[in-house]
Amino acid sequence: MYVKGLAAFAAAVGVGLLSGAAIAQEVKQEKQSVLGNANVSPVTQEQLNAADKNSKDFLLTNGNYAQTRFYPGKQIGRDNVKNLHVAWIFQTDVKESLETSPIVVDGVMYVTTSFSHVYALDAKTGQQLWHYAHKMGPITVYCCGPNNRGIQVLGDRVYLATLDSKLLALNAKTGEVVWTTNIADPELGYSETMAPTVVKDKVLIGTNGGEYGIRGFVRAYDAKTGKQLWNFNTIPENSVGVWATKDATGRDMHRNIQAEKDMLAKIGDPYAKLGGGVWQNPSVDLATNRIYFVVGNPSPDLDGSNRPGDNLYTNSLVSLDLDTGKYVCHFQYIAHDVWDLDAVSPTVLVNVKDKDGKRIPGVIHAGKTGHIYVHDRKDCSLIRFSETMVPQENMWVLPTKEGARMLPGANGGVEWSPIATDPGQELAYAINLHQPMHYRVESSPYPNGKLWLGGAFTAIPGEQQSGNITAVNYNTGKIKWQVKTPEPMIGGILATAGGLVFTGEGNGKFAAYNSSTGKELWSFRAGAGVNAPPSSYMIGGKQYVVVGAGGNTQVDFKRGNNIIAFTLD
């Protein structure tokens, strides 16, 4: 995923002097956990399986196991969305980057904040029911902000992964800890920011750490006990691959294969510290019992000199068997990446047209490259890639000591932000960044769990940055509509059966658009960056849309601590 060398919007426009001198310590962990009593029914596996048809709840981070982020309710539609107004605002105790996907179960909402706090709220009123303030260990190592993207509920338990690389089960009614499991050693660069995916009594979790020389993984833990059931190393012991010289779109990546082969003969397979984090949730194909996820960048990000080979399965789509964690198939977008233009945004399962126009089960992923990639779910093979959603220039120039200019910048394209789809319209909706950057390379040995970039990505002062919302027809690869935004976009998007998409911007704007045309129909100013994926639900016969407005660390958007729910009169 991205690194620290990113480029904040402020670099280009010269705004945003950091406020204040001698500022008090940031607001965090000043609150102790507050146990409560949330009157919530246990969530069954059957409910989770049918989440795509459930407009009452919002049960999974990306709406359902296929991760379509398509909400089936339509009370809020194109005609009446102009009347949308604030129902309530809840202020958390943590004023720092907010990336949570609110989960709604039986009238109870669960949201998380930076530093791994969890709140249970009354989804109708915003009243706090309980608060879990994680007692963080002293050692946390993370590249892109102390974020947390949410929880999932199964039965009467809430599952949470924390910044200090622990997996927890909480009592969904009270917030009490039921069990805790150590996932990996944070001192070696491991951390957790993603929401777990819980299915068939398995808690699935990946790991951050691709900027620290970890060896990435996806794991399944027993939902009842926290015991590890299986582990899949995202970096196999033979990570060399096929010496691919072209990326998924057929462009030459300018690899020096002979130099890499010489290095391989000298140092052997570099798999042990090759990175390969998994930042976002897998999609689950319940019919075939498979999961699909994408793997992030190799370590170190920009310096490929000491990691010969394709660096499998970095920058790849990977499918596993859900029960065993055994490899099924993969597809690598960029072999031997030296730009951190990796694969981060979560996969989505939809039926797609194959090359002959026949409808087949597909899996799609939006890349940092600015393409949406469409695959055959059976063997992971690439069917097509979309028109580019952002400017591409000088690809794939190799990073230099002085800095080589290339677009997209290292954040993308599409960062970790989940896309939404509307299968009826055959459209995928993605939010994009445009940040011109210099790619610089430096070489240094493995630093024992420290930041290991192998160089830096730097925003180019004076070059304008921007963003966009793009609707792509995944059966043709053509862009149907695009809305330009003044700032790079990071957070997420939601499509609804009401013919709308909802998404937010770093300047605090949260808006609804006609999902067929991109026409803006409603907007609200939240006062802090809206850089989190929205959710929607029904309670008391009324539809609500909810989103976090807390800004973003990675692109340095104005921080806040608000969870805002909207509804109609």
Partner: protein
């Protein structure tokens, strides 16, 4: 200055008694010689450790012991500590109040230059938006100006060798921009 450095150097002579120290207060007695009894370092090239992030302090002690970070004074001291000692010492100092070194705020033009440079390489992604740090990432806001300047210079030459990622980022930033950052951070 010379006198203060002599006092600081005298810390080395306390190391023998350090080995017998049992309580935290005894273990950290040696630290005050350089880092100050009131949290204000006795010399401007010595870092503030009162109120610093515990994870960062632990990692530095660990790295001094391993030899990943070099210091004629700190390495012999850290060598005597086991991991639990280091964690306890780190926690002890992290709970102390951050001292006000009385450094002036940077002028507006310098601050603007610093913020632009910081955004370009992404300092807030780890040090957070108010440079308070977190976990293993240090607080920079209000740190001694000379220490900041020396550390950045040492990162650029890799004389400070225990964080090559920071070296990469400092090498990607111009000396002018780094000078502005030093002034800006010291004055926060």
């Amino acid at each position: 200055m010379f006198g203060k450095l002599m006092m600081c150097g005298a810390a080395l002579f306390l190391i023998a008694s350090q080995a017998r120290a049992e309580t935290i207060a005894e273990k950290v007695a040696v630290c005050t010689g350089c880092h100050g009894e009131d949290g204000k370092p006795v010399d401007k090239t010595i870092p503030t450790i009162w109120g610093q992030q515990a994870g960062y302090l632990y990692i530095q002690l660990r790295d001094f012991k391993r030899g990943d970070r070099k210091s004629e004074i700190m390495q012999p001291i850290a060598t005597q500590f086991e991991r639990d000692d280091m964690l306890a010492i780190a926690e002890y100092f992290s709970q102390k109040p951050w001292p006000d070194l009385g450094q002036p705020r940077a002028p507006k033009d310098v601050a603007a230059k610093a913020v632009s440079a910081s955004a370009s390489v992404g300092c807030p992604a780890c040090h957070l938006d108010r440079f308070q740090g977190d976990g293993t990432v240090p607080r920079l806001a209000g740190m001694g100006r000379d220490y900041l300047a020396k550390t950045i210079a040492d990162f650029r030459t890799r004389a400070r060798g225990n964080n090559p990622g920071m070296s990469d980022l400092m090498l990607a930033t111009s000396p002018d921009d780094l000078a502005a950052l030093v002034e800006y951070l010291a004055g926060l």
